[in-house]
């Protein structure tokens, strides 16, 4: 009886090895994550809205559309235009990622009638009041990081790579992050971020993923700021992968054109 059990274990073990993807290093997984475009900000047209909920449960909404282009993988350019709330309608934000240097960021405010270059370190700052910081969107903390593979884990029913990432840049707001990356699509289904005091600061969870023209997107997600007891639900209403948006669409002139 014991011999039979041992044989069965061998059979299942062999079968499991046959199904497993080839072993990947932590950096390879990170590269795959960077290749992916979960929120449609690296080569897509997106219409989205975010629902912000504060510690007392009060909610507010932010609606925007975004166009983006991957220009020097994994770098991209993006232009976000806000349509709600009414006060923000027409405001725009242009970001051009840079490999070694700080990203170029421009903000256009309709009432000022001109755009301003935003410099300085606002990577830790919230993006237009949401719980997503600029750092969460520019993914520089993934690009310039030391990654370690931990034991695989499932998120829901999906097998995931479990990674620990330690940003190399001194200006990162995070001391480390943990990612659970879905093995089949390389979408990060869960992302926990720890501040410099090693306290869990934020958790990003993918609630819905969708495949559009062969590309995977996280169409519903929520970010919780544990320290502020604040939450942002992000919904991609429309997403259309595009690689044909001209470079001219990512200029200050275009930003200032409502």
């Amino acid at each position: 009886m014991r011999r039979v059990a041992f044989s069965l274990a061998l059979v299942f073990s062999a079968a499991a090895q046959a199904d497993a993807p080839p072993a990947m290093s932590a950096q390879q997984v990170i590269d795959k994550v960077l290749e992916s475009d979960p929120w449609g900000l690296s080569g897509a047209e997106v219409t989205a809205h975010a629902v912000l909920k504060d510690k007392r449960g009060a909610t507010s909404e932010l609606a925007f559309s975004a166009r983006s282009k991957r220009y020097d993988p994994p770098l991209s350019k993006s232009l976000v235009r806000f349509s709600a709330p009414a006060d923000l309608a027409g405001a725009g934000f242009l970001q051009v990622q840079k490999r070694g240097d700080d990203d170029d960021r421009y903000l256009f405010m309709p009432d000022l009638k001109k755009s301003r270059r935003i410099s300085g370190n606002l990577r830790a700052s919230a993006f237009m009041g949401t719980d997503f910081s600029f750092a969460d969107l520019d993914r520089r903390d993934l690009r310039e990081a030391e990654a370690t593979l931990l034991a695989d884990e499932n998120v829901g029913k999906f097998p995931c790579f479990h990674l620990e990432v330690r940003p190399k840049r001194g200006d990162s707001q995070y001391s480390r992050a943990e990612l659970w990356v879905r093995k089949d699509s390389f979408l990060p289904l869960k992302w926990t971020m720890y501040d410099k005091a090693k306290v869990l600061l934020k958790t990003l969870t993918a609630d819905e993923v969708r495949r559009v023209n062969g590309h995977w997107f996280i169409t519903k997600s929520h970010m919780v700021n544990h320290l502020e007891n604040h939450r942002t639900d992000m919904f991609l209403e429309q997403v259309k992968p595009r690689d044909d948006i001209p470079d001219d669409d990512f200029t200050v002139r275009m930003l200032e054109k409502i």
Binding site: L52, A58, L88, M109, I118, G120, D171
Partner: protein
């Protein structure tokens, strides 16, 4: 009474057991007493109309200065070593559960304009490495209206790590505040300061904890000191162990019973309550002394011990009851106060004084019956005092009318001086001298302060984005900044103006509120919610101006309140914004000043009740009016002292009225009673009657005044300046009360008493001695 005493003596074992049981229960209850000095205890009560806004505000924005502050002083706080140290402290404190936010230069955000760019984000994403980078950071920080004096001194010599308590400090218990301070101190212990850097732990929570510790220390020290002083007085009087033990045992039981009862009310012992044990002790010890003296006289007269006890009790039970009653009524009048602190104080002392009478007629006879009597010859007046009093009356007798005129003039002059007495409560200035007070003063000089005033604005959702509202807030904010006592004043308008300036290339002329709601909204949308939530709620309906200031006392804050209210009325007219002045300075000082007013009102009421009581007791309007003059004079003397030494009336100094009310009238009552008794006995020469009454009641009155004064003199060792003043004022009142009775009451009775219509002897039997 004799039957009651005989019954007690007949069942002394059972009475003793009952007594021990009641004492055990009282001690057990008293161990739960919570001694604390929290600003909140004075203003947080159900009928306080200011609390509703204060609670609403605190729930939205927390406590604007309820931080544990690590005040870092150095030659240059922007030196890399210092910044590394600050960063280490910040990181050490950030994960601590007791703190919700930790703010310092190393995690502060800024926004400023530089030519066509807007620089936004962390002030120090990385620490500066070169002198140029250091200068750049210094320039930005010390020019930011949101950082300078809030996080960094304008001269770069001081900065603060502000650890905001998760429970707003204004609502936190002393235990929570103590834990927060200990956490900060542990962080300091783990990170030794670099050479040349001096760190102090300060802030609002430190002030509260230090005050509580000082109060506990006071209670540990003052009560034994008062006991020692009374013990000395008892030794001088009786020169025997029993003479010390018996009165102290009687009053000790009453004090313990009262402490046990007070603990059942679950009210903390605050600075007002801390005076109760000494008050009870000194008032409670007087009656047992009189009874013990009478008992010794009876023993000397050859009575058996039990007979001496019964006779002494029978003769003195009623006079002791009446003097206890007047004292208790006096304190009970404070029970009508709206503030729990004052009302509970009045009621508790009234109960304590009544219990003292109970122990005088129960515990004392019991102890007298079981302990051997002290050596004879202990009680009685001193011939020297007797001669001094007789000599004094001989000198006064031909000058009674001028004395009366002088007394009335002194009363009028004192009243005129006292009328102008200022009520000005103080918080920081009352803290015990030491490192914490020094640290608070440095905090006030270099950065902000621990006393906070808030101008709280509430409107419709989105109202705080309207430029006209923000301009009004800016105008009120600007006015606040011009006040000499104000160290920092920060508002949403500052924040928006700073952003507007940044988006206009740093032009100082653009440090103003932008013209459109949309632009304000766009500016605000750029800010991190954690920064923004300090200034405005998520619906943009509520905002505030936070004013941190020095603490010149409540009088200055009353003026500031009026001026701010006038500015608010002027600038917010027609904008649909509700405005309220709140914060601990406004709510707390309002309540502290109200306590003083209620103490004054309570004193007037108590005074009136006792005068009324005299009127009923003696059925003589003249005696009642005479007692008004002679008992107001000591109070006036204390008011003159207050004026001469520039001491304001505040909660602790005004307490002298409460603690001395019980002692003021006793001598007058005894004096008048003795005069009437002599008249009833057939004496007709007014001079002889007055002289006799003075010699009869003078020695015990002097003895009582000395014991009371010595007891209250123990307050002069308090760590609180106000309680020290209270000790002096109580002494002045009680001692001058004795002299007032010996001089003014005597002269007034001689001049105004209706000698020819003195009551017949039969009627006098019903009168009171």
């Amino acid at each position: 009474m004799s039957r009651v005493v005989r019954l007690l003596l007949g069942h002394r074992v059972w009475v003793a057991l009952l007594l021990v049981a009641s004492l055990a229960a009282s001690v057990r209850s008293a161990l739960r007493l919570d001694v604390r000095f929290q600003f909140r205890d004075f203003y947080d009560y159900p009928k306080n109309p200011d609390m509703e806004v204060f609670n609403r505000y605190s729930a939205e924005f927390g406590d604007p200065a309820g931080f544990v502050v690590l005040l870092v002083e150095a030659e240059d706080v922007f030196h890399r070593d210092v910044l590394e140290y600050i960063q280490a402290l910040t990181h050490e404190l950030e994960p601590e559960k007791v703190f919700s936010h930790v703010r310092s230069l190393t995690n502060a955000n800024i926004i400023y304009g530089k030519e066509d760019e807007v620089v936004s984000g962390a002030l120090l994403p990385v620490l500066p490495r070169t002198p140029e980078e250091t200068e750049q950071v210094r320039r930005v920080a010390t020019r930011s209206s949101l950082l300078v004096r809030r996080l960094v001194a304008a001269d770069s010599r001081a900065t603060a790590v502000l650890a905001e308590m998760r429970t707003p400090a204004a609502l936190a218990s002393i235990g929570e505040q103590r834990e927060a301070i200990a956490t900060a101190r542990r962080a300091l212990a783990r990170h030794p300061a670099p050479a040349g850097v001096h760190v102090r732990v300060t802030g609002g929570p430190v002030a509260e904890v230090e005050s509580t510790d000082s109060l506990v220390h006071d209670m540990i020290v003052l009560l034994p000191v008062a006991l020692l002083l009374i013990l000395g007085a008892l030794w001088i009087t009786f020169r025997s162990l029993q003479g010390i033990v018996l009165p102290l045992a009687a009053v000790g039981v009453a004090t313990l019973w009262t402490a046990g009862l007070f603990a059942l009310l679950r009210h903390p012992v605050d600075i007002v309550g801390s005076t109760m044990p000494v008050t009870l002790l000194v008032y409670g010890v007087v009656d047992p002394i009189f009874v013990l003296s009478r008992f010794l006289q009876k023993i000397e007269a050859g009575r058996t011990r039990d007979d001496a006890i019964v006779e002494a009790q029978s003769e003195l039970a009623l006079p002791c009851f009446l003097t206890s009653l007047t004292t208790a009524l006096g304190f009970l009048s404070f029970g009508t106060a709206t503030l729990p602190t004052v009302a509970l104080y009045g009621c508790t002392v009234a109960i304590g004084v009544s219990l003292s009478w109970v122990t005088t007629v129960t515990v004392l006879p019991l102890l007298l019956s079981v302990l051997p009597p002290p050596a004879s010859g202990a009680a009685g007046g001193s011939p020297r005092i007797d001669r001094a009093i007789a000599g004094a009356w001989a000198r006064m007798r031909p000058r009674v009318r001028p004395l009366v005129a002088a007394a009335c003039a002194a009363l009028a002059l004192g009243a005129a001086l006292g009328w102008k007495q200022h009520i000005s409560s103080i918080y920081v200035g009352n803290l015990p001298k030491g490192e914490s007070l020094d640290a608070i003063h440095v905090l006030e000089q270099k950065l902000s302060g621990v006393v906070r005033t808030v101008v709280y604005f509430e409107g419709e959702p989105g109202a705080m984005k309207r430029p006209e509202v923000l301009r009004a807030i800016a105008a009120i904010d600007a006015f606040a900044e011009t006040q000499p006592m104000v160290n920092t004043s920060v508002s949403l308008a500052d924040l928006v103006a700073e952003e507007n300036q940044a988006f206009h290339g740093g032009d100082p002329a653009e440090h103003r509120v932008p013209p459109t709601t949309a632009l304000v909204a766009q500016y605000l949308a750029l800010l991190d919610p954690s920064d923004l939530s300090d200034f405005v709620d998520a619906a943009y309906a509520k905002s505030h101006i936070r004013i941190l200031s020095e603490d010149p006392g409540s009088e200055a804050f009353r003026k500031l309140r009026q001026q701010l209210q006038a500015k608010c009325d002027q600038h917010l007219k027609g904008l649909g914004i509700r405005v309220a002045l709140t914060g601990t300075a406004m709510v707390g000082y309002g309540a502290l000043d109200q306590i003083v007013v209620e103490l004054l009102e309570g004193f007037v009421l108590a005074f009136a009740i006792i005068v009324l009581f005299e009127l009923i007791m003696f059925r003589s309007l003249r005696i009642a009016l005479i007692s008004v003059v002679s008992n107001l004079l000591p109070v006036v003397a204390s008011f003159v002292y207050l004026r001469l030494f520039h001491i304001s009336l505040r909660m602790d100094t005004a307490l002298f009225l409460s603690v001395s009310i019980g002692g003021l009238f006793n001598t007058t009552i005894h004096f008048a009673a003795r005069v009437r008794q002599r008249v009833a006995e057939g004496a007709r020469d007014p001079d002889e009657i007055i002289g006799h009454a003075m010699r009869a009641i003078g020695p015990p009155a002097l003895f009582t005044a000395v014991i009371l004064s010595l007891g209250f003199a123990s307050f002069m060792l308090s760590g609180f300046s106000g309680l020290r003043a209270l000790g002096t004022l109580s002494m002045i009142t009680l001692l001058s009360g004795f002299f007032s009775d010996m001089i003014v009451t005597a002269a007034l009775l001689r001049v105004f008493y209706r000698w020819e219509s003195a009551p017949p002897a039969a009627a006098q039997k019903r009168s009171v001695e």
